[in-house]
Symmetry: C2
Subunit: 310 residues, 2 copies
Amino acid sequence: MGGSGRVTLNDVAAASGVSRATVSFVLNNAPNQTISAATRERVQQAASDLGYVPHGVARALREGASRVVVLNIDWGLEGNYSRSYVRGLDDELAAHDHVLLVRHGHHTPQATQQVLDTIAPRAVLRFGEPYLTGHELDDRGGGWRDGLAAHAALQIRHLAEHGHTRMALALPDSGTPLAEARLRFAGQTAAALGLAPLASFVVPRPRSAGTSAVREFRAAHPGVTAIAGFNDDVALRTLTTLHDLGLSVPGDVAVIGYDDTEYGELVTPALTTVHIDAEAHGRLAARTALGLDTGGLVPVPARIIVRDSV
Amino acid sequence: MGGSGRVTLNDVAAASGVSRATVSFVLNNAPNQTISAATRERVQQAASDLGYVPHGVARALREGASRVVVLNIDWGLEGNYSRSYVRGLDDELAAHDHVLLVRHGHHTPQATQQVLDTIAPRAVLRFGEPYLTGHELDDRGGGWRDGLAAHAALQIRHLAEHGHTRMALALPDSGTPLAEARLRFAGQTAAALGLAPLASFVVPRPRSAGTSAVREFRAAHPGVTAIAGFNDDVALRTLTTLHDLGLSVPGDVAVIGYDDTEYGELVTPALTTVHIDAEAHGRLAARTALGLDTGGLVPVPARIIVRDSV
DNA sequence: CTGAAAGCGCTTACAG
DNA sequence: CTGAAAGCGCTTACAG
């Protein structure tokens, strides 16, 4: 062993009496190589005896990419979607001997380039991108089976099943590209169900501004009896403003959330919401990034968490 | 330039008519090297003309570590502490030409070893560790100036200033090593202020279990008039249980949160809480990881966000 | 069936 | 003041 700490291929080669190349072939199960069983055995034994583990940086230099996948995510890991997605991504990557590393915050293209230049990751993923387009799961058209469209529809349908015919989508004030898609899918669902055209409004911060916005919206759309939140945060803020306006939920107006955060259970009335298990989405993203087969991945369908706000 | 995309040191050397070594010296401002101003100029011009950017993987192989710092963090980025900490860490690292990458979830030592072997990061940090010990900022003894102890004390003091003399600390059910420290610091503060010994209890999930726990605690400690939450989540859950028990806040009992999440504003009564700006802690962690001077970092003191629950 | 050699892109003693 | 050379640890054509 080379004096310092690290056990290298050289050490394994020396210990097993073969060349570095042979060790590499054995350890990587190189195809088209016919190495005697005895030699393989000897090499593997030596490697494990010495506790050899390949140096990823050297390998990355040679192969052109490290066994790392980087995930860019704007900020927190609020709802169940992002948490389960990250979990699935992480697990699947680990199963294929790769490591997931995430970057938080808004990043410039230069910053992303810096990451590329610094560690040459196998891939850099942008959170939510496939979900938005719905192209994943071989389910074109916005993911009407297991994607955004399906989940948007589930939310609207739950309201319809409770007798509501006039609804609105409550949006966050930070404009997100997802808002437009959600509005479209929810609107299509309402149309398909023969409901009134879907309205929408923004719930700004802070609390007082949200209250004004909701008051104005109610005045302009007195017929609306149910509000679908773009996410649980908006739904929770809507619940708050309704409370401040002296309205009762679900008596005066029903509210449903989206993407199940842990705070939904804590308010009164507790928030009914859409629970999305995105672990399969995460695994799929992992396999796609690695250029692997994506078949046989069965996503768990989204479901409604029934509480008291609808 | 080498045919494919990447511009290497070789290309810059060729373009400026010097050796690779010279280019490296110029670009890294190598000390003890006296290279003519004209040559430096020529090299720098060529580098920028070609858009040369050093290949981090090669550099990492050579230097033994990549310009990456990995942060392990159990799960989300809930409160203001973790968000501001990550922001400060990220910014400071970027200022020193390093990249922050985070890993979420619980990780085994082997998994961490894999990260080390894969990208040879300059350092791997465990979120919250310095905060817990309070060793940062040269402020021993649990961080009574800008650390955990100071923040624990601030919370208790706020309650005391509102006339409360019997208090309890509400804890999460997931045991955290921080709980013990918080309890100790808060208890010491109560003692120093001449208050009754600090009680404590756990607020389990789900909502109904929390309610039972709080009911029992109230029965056992009828004199307690104020509850300090271990974090905003616990405080919010306490608020909920109090509501379910038909108690009014702050009339019957006051509640104060810790580490300002965005949901505190949304409940009724809105949650008074401790706001911790940990950007300086993040910057400090960055400088420490890089072996840099840590002087001159002035943390913003924590402060109380006064709302309606105390 | 196995080994010697080249090369991924960089930095840094070591010579001149 | 500047260049030739070695080497970080690995993989993979290419010879035997």
